[in-house]
Structure formats: structure tokens, C-alpha cells
């Protein structure tokens, strides 16, 4: 294949490594400050106890559980964009997969911390393992999230192996510190046919496995709610609804990440309007499916007006939570689906705005699942109230900032595009076996 093209994408993929320009440091400082503020708020909460939050006896789950569901949902973008597109052999995925997989791991790490933040006694967290009760959805969560996290790391790492070999050879002389790291992590990759076969098998297993694992995580998160007898949670459609919502928000998050980072890392030549259009289609399909599931849920519950579900439906459609609900329904579903589905100009801008709306909307939807479900009176008392405090807001903001921070730091050390997969879709992997450092690397030494 065209060597110049390969040189181009290898150069682009490796370009951010070790680059500490001013913008990078400004971003790191701002994001780190936000994360630090979140951590400070958490420390404050650890010292004082959960009374510093807006949680109370009636609404005992709030921002933290919402965020846990939300961020783990975001991490689904990796599973979808990478695994499903890989299994369906969609070649256009190649420049996106690394970004999607890294986003998946970053969001997952953030989401997985939230159950611990939510604990009244985080110091006793290991009790969940020591005294694990197999009947408890919390234990299921631990198993599912733990497995999915390990799988996500493997899924990020395996396609990285050949890239690390490229980076090792391209940057070996230039980066004294990174060179040994690359050498170890690259596992002596030389691109021989048996190595390709081994890698293809590993990635194949992971691409198949990551999908049921991702499904299991959000199903279990949904069961956290659905196995209770609270009428508005106790719903058979909850698990698929959660899984679909996660995919929906995950694809939106991937669109946001690539929209932002393609400019930062100068990937415009590889991640083009075409990618945004395709991802928009995916977003639209998932969005419509989500609408369908939601309608199905509310119709079955609302048609009979059971005594225990009616108050929640009333509060959502016309009552206290109606503004939030309709904001979500219009702004988080109808509008972004319309924006993304429209043919025509500005596909990138439209996809980005739609994704922003979807991500925000899906957060709101999780709020509308958790809080009214909690606040709805299960015994003859008044509706619960929930007003988050600055602690919860600071922790939420800090955790949201942690994702881009982790991403830019990660891409400072690891290739931002999957060279291996680009090779694959461009058909250049035969050349890669004997190829030494690309021309540009030698020149910079």
C-alpha cells in the first residue's frame, strides 16, 4: 500500500506522544484542578459523613448512584464502536477504536468509584468480598463491574500491542523513559504471521466477549432497582432499557470525544464527516430504540393506572418532575434524534450538538429514574425531597473532568489511533514486518 499514507497516519498516531505543548498543560491544569476539587469534596465527605450530601431517609440514593449508572453507561461507547463495528467488519471504525476504547476505560474507572463514594462506611468496602452474599445485587454489581473493567483493559491493550512495537521503533531513541515500557508492553511484536494470528484470536475473543459483559453490567445495575418492590422500578423492561440507554449515551460520548480530540490531535484527515454521519446513524437507531422501550414501559404501566405506579407517572408527566421529564424527552431524545437523522450540511456540528444533548439528557433520565423512584411515598407519608449539596456537585464535576484528563494523559504516552487496525483496513500489514522507524522519526532525533 501507499507508504506515504502509512507514514502519515503513523506520524499522526504517534504525534501526541511526549508532546507537552502549552494547550496540553493548560488543559491538564484546569482538569486537574477540577478533579482535585472533587477529591477535596470527597475527603470532606469522608471526614464528616454522608450528612454533608442532600441524601436523606426517604431519598437515600441520589447523585452518586445516578453518576455510577451514567458514567458506566458512557463507557459503553467503547464496547459498541469497537466491538460491534469490529464484528460487523465496518472498516471505517479503524481511526476511532482507540479513542473509543480509551474513553470506555476512563469512564468505567470513574463510574466504578461511585458505589464506593456512595457508601456510608467506605472503609468496610472489602466486606462485600469477605462476606459476599450471592443473593445481593450489590455483589452482582461487584462481579459484573469487576469483570467488565478487566475485560475493558484487555480490550484496550490487545490492539495496542502492535502499535507499541511501532512506537518502540519509531521513538525508541528519542524517549529514554518510554522505550523500556514500550518494549515490555509490546511483547516482542514483530508482526510475524503467527503473532498476527495470536493477536487476531485474542481480539476476536474480546470483541465477542465484551458485548455480553457490557450487557451484563448494565443489566445488573438495572436490577439494583428492578429487584426492589418499588413499583416504578420493579419492571421487567428495566435491564434492556438500561443497556440501551447506556449504548445510546456511549455512542454520543464517543462522538463528543472524537469531535474534540480530532482537532486537538490533528486527525481531521482520518476522522472525517463520514465517521460522524455513520455514528449519527448509530445514534439515531439507538435513540429510536430507546424511545420505543420507554414508550413500552410507560404505556404498560400507565394504561392500567395501578395504585402504586400512578403517583410516579403523574409526577413525571404533569407533576413536580414534569419539567425535567419533558426537557429530557424533547431536548434529550426528539431534538438530538432529529438533528442527527437530518441529511445535509454540518454533519460534524450536528452530530456533536446532538451528542451533547444526548449525554446531558441521559444523565437527566437517570436522575428521573433514581430520584422519583426513591421520593415516591411507599408508605403513607409525603413525597421525599432531594436537593444535592455542593459536595455532590463538586464530586460530580471532578469525576466528569477526570475522564478528559485521563484521556489526554493516556494519549501523551500511547498512540491515539490504532495503527494496527489502520494497517488492516488499508491492507498494509505485510509491509509492517520489516519496516523500521518511519522517516519522520529519524529526522527528529
Amino acid at each position: 500500500m501507499d507508504a506515504r499514507t502509512r507514514a502519515h497516519y503513523v506520524e499522526r498516531a504517534l504525534w501526541p506522544i511526549g508532546k507537552g505543548d502549552r494547550n496540553f498543560w493548560i488543559a491538564v491544569v484546569i482538569l486537574s484542578a477540577t478533579v482535585a476539587a472533587g477529591i477535596a469534596a470527597w475527603i470532606y465527605q469522608l471526614q464528616n459523613g454522608l450528612w454533608v450530601t442532600g441524601l436523606n431517609q426517604k431519598v437515600s440514593w441520589g447523585f452518586y448512584i445516578i453518576n455510577c449508572v451514567f458514567f458506566i453507561g458512557i463507557s459503553y461507547g467503547g464496547a459498541i464502536t469497537s466491538a460491534i463495528l469490529r464484528l460487523t467488519n465496518a472498516k471505517w471504525r479503524a481511526p476511532l477504536t482507540r479513542l473509543a476504547e480509551a474513553t470506555a476505560v476512563a469512564a468505567l474507572l470513574v463510574g466504578a468509584v461511585y458505589p464506593i463514594i456512595d457508601l456510608g462506611r467506605p472503609d468496610r468496602f472489602l466486606n462485600v468480598i469477605r462476606y459476599a452474599q450471592v443473593g445481593s445485587p450489590i455483589v452482582w454489581d461487584l462481579v459484573a463491574i469487576g469483570t467488565y473493567t478487566v475485560a475493558s483493559f484487555i480490550f484496550l491493550y490487545l490492539p495496542l500491542i502492535p502499535d507499541l512495537a511501532v512506537a518502540r521503533e519509531a521513538l525508541g531513541g528519542r524517549r529514554r523513559v518510554l522505550s523500556p515500557l514500550y518494549r515490555i508492553l509490546a511483547l516482542g511484536w514483530r508482526g510475524t504471521p503467527p503473532q498476527h494470528r495470536a493477536l487476531a484470536r485474542g481480539i476476536g475473543i474480546m470483541a465477542v466477549l465484551i458485548i455480553p459483559l457490557a450487557v451484563s453490567v448494565h443489566s445488573v445495575l438495572a436490577w439494583l432497582f428492578a429487584v426492589t418492590v418499588r413499583a416504578e422500578w420493579h419492571s421487567t423492561i428495566f435491564a434492556p432499557l438500561f443497556v440501551l440507554g447506556a449504548m445510546f449515551s456511549g455512542v454520543a460520548a464517543v462522538i463528543l470525544v472524537i469531535a474534540a480530540l480530532r482537532r486537538v490531535y490533528g486527525l481531521e484527515a482520518f476522522i472525517t464527516a463520514k465517521h460522524f454521519r455513520y455514528l449519527s446513524y448509530l445514534l439515531v437507531a439507538l435513540g429510536l430504540a430507546y424511545v420505543y422501550f420507554m414508550v413500552s414501559e410507560y404505556l404498560t404501566e400507565g394504561y392500567v393506572f395501578a395504585e402504586n405506579t400512578t403517583p410516579v407517572l403523574e409526577s413525571l408527566f404533569t407533576g413536580a418532575y414534569a419539567p425535567a421529564f419533558w426537557t429530557f424527552s424533547i431536548g434529550g431524545l426528539v431534538l438530538p434524534i432529529a438533528l442527527a437523522a437530518m441529511p445535509g450540511r454540518f454533519p460534524i456540528a450536528r452530530a456533536s450538538i446532538a451528542s451533547l444533548l444526548v449525554v446531558a439528557g441521559m444523565w437527566l433520565k437517570r436522575f428521573l429514574i433514581v430520584v422519583p423512584g426513591m421520593a415516591n411515598p411507599i408508605v403513607p407519608w409525603d413525597w421525599g425531597r432531594y436537593q444535592p449539596t455542593w459536595v455532590e456537585i463538586a464530586i460530580t464535576a471532578g469525576s466528569a473532568a477526570a475522564i478528559p484528563l485521563m484521556l489526554i494523559v493516556f494519549f501523551r504516552f500511547f498512540p491515539v489511533m490504532s495503527i494496527h487496525e489502520m494497517d488492516e483496513v488499508e491492507g498494509t500489514h505485510e509491509v509492517a514486518v520489516t519496516r523500521r522507524a518511519p522517516a519522520f522519526a529519524g529526522g527528529e532525533d
Binding site: 450471592v134 443473593g135 462481579v143 469483570t147 478487566v150 475485560a151 484487555i154 491493550y157 490487545l158 500491542i161 511483547l187 516482542g188 511484536w189 514483530r190 510475524t192 503467527p194 503473532q195 494470528r197 495470536a198 493477536l199 484470536r201 485474542g202 481480539i203 475473543i205 474480546m206 466477549l209 459483559l213 520489516t434
Partner: protein
């Protein structure tokens, strides 16, 4: 539970206590209680009451309340039911106790007209009792107990697959890299 034989229809251990001393203008009623096993044993024990004055006249239309001595945060008398005497001053109450063993019964007649109240006691040994309390069984208990094993096996299989995906791949890459390394060096140089 064995079906009762005729022999079981027998008077059980019996004690008699006479009522209080009559007040001047009132006639003392004597409450005599006996307990016998019911003809159908599973129905329990018949507490027979004979309410008479000292000279043997029946006291009719009198309410008799039955209590059993129990121990629950101290000694208490558990109300078990009541009955009204007939023209002969007789009445009965069928009682199926909750547990086996010795039961001490108190029967009390209320004050009625010019008869003052009185009480009688009896004890009996119960060889049959109401169906004992048992917690409501968990539905699908056997199935529920098996589920964790199935899911556990599935989780283990997933972890095995994960281990294979990472370790198997790493091994494949490392081995192939080692095997080819010398050849490559020669070939290139």
C-alpha cells in the same frame, strides 16, 4: 399423628378448686372443670364445666371464660374462649392447644344475678396439638439455591476466557517473536 382409640376418651388429670366463700346475700357458685379428650382427638380437648351452687342447684345462663396459664414475660393467663351454661349448669369448650405437654386451665364464671363469680382449675397432658408454627416456606427455594452455582460457573467461564484472551495472546506473540528473532537478525544483517 395417631388416630385416637376409645381408650383415649378418658378423663385426664384433674384438680378441683372451690370458689370463694359466699358473701352473705349471695349464693356461691361452684365451678367444676374437667378436661377430656375430644371424640375426634385432632379437635382437641373438651373442657367441661359444671356450675352448681353448694347444694347442687345448676346455675344457668352464666358466662364462663377459659384461660390457660402461660409464661410470657412472667406468668399470664391466656384467654382462650368462653361459653354459656345451659339449664343444667353445664357447658363445654373445645380447646386444641398450640403445644404438647402439660396445660393448666382456669375457668371463671362471671358474677350473675345473685351468684358470685367463681373459678375452677384443671390440668391436662396434651398428646395432640394444633399444627405447630412453621415459617412460610420460601417459594422456589431449591431452584433459588441452585442458581448461584449456575451463575458462578458462568462467571468462572468468563474469567477463564478472559485469562485465555490475554495470556494466550501474550504467549502466542512472545513465542513467535522469540522463535523468529535469530532468523530475522541473520536475514536483515
Amino acid at each position: 399423628m395417631r388416630r385416637p382409640g376409645i381408650a383415649l376418651i378418658a378423663t385426664l388429670a384433674l384438680t378441683l378448686t372451690f370458689g370463694n366463700v359466699a358473701l352473705a346475700d349471695h349464693v356461691k357458685a361452684i365451678c367444676e372443670v374437667t378436661a377430656t379428650a375430644s371424640a375426634k382427638l385432632e379437635k382437641g380437648y373438651v373442657l367441661n364445666v359444671r356450675l352448681r351452687t353448694a347444694d347442687g342447684k345448676p346455675v344457668n345462663e352464666a358466662t364462663v371464660r377459659f384461660y390457660e396459664k402461660v409464661e410470657l414475660f412472667g406468668d399470664r393467663e391466656m384467654y382462650i374462649g368462653s361459653a354459656t351454661t345451659d339449664g343444667q349448669g353445664d357447658t363445654s369448650f373445645t380447646y386444641l392447644p398450640a403445644r404438647l405437654g402439660t396445660h393448666e386451665i382456669v375457668a371463671r364464671s362471671a358474677r350473675k344475678d345473685h351468684f358470685i363469680g367463681s373459678e375452677g382449675r384443671t390440668t391436662f397432658e396434651a398428646t395432640v396439638a394444633a399444627r405447630a408454627y412453621r415459617p412460610e416456606p420460601a417459594p422456589l427455594a431449591a431452584f433459588s439455591a441452585a442458581v448461584p452455582f449456575g451463575v458462578g460457573a458462568l462467571v468462572l467461564a468468563v474469567w477463564a476466557l478472559l485469562a485465555f484472551a490475554i495470556l494466550g495472546t501474550a504467549r502466542g506473540i512472545l513465542r513467535s517473536g522469540r522463535d523468529l528473532a535469530p532468523q530475522k537478525e541473520e536475514g536483515v544483517s
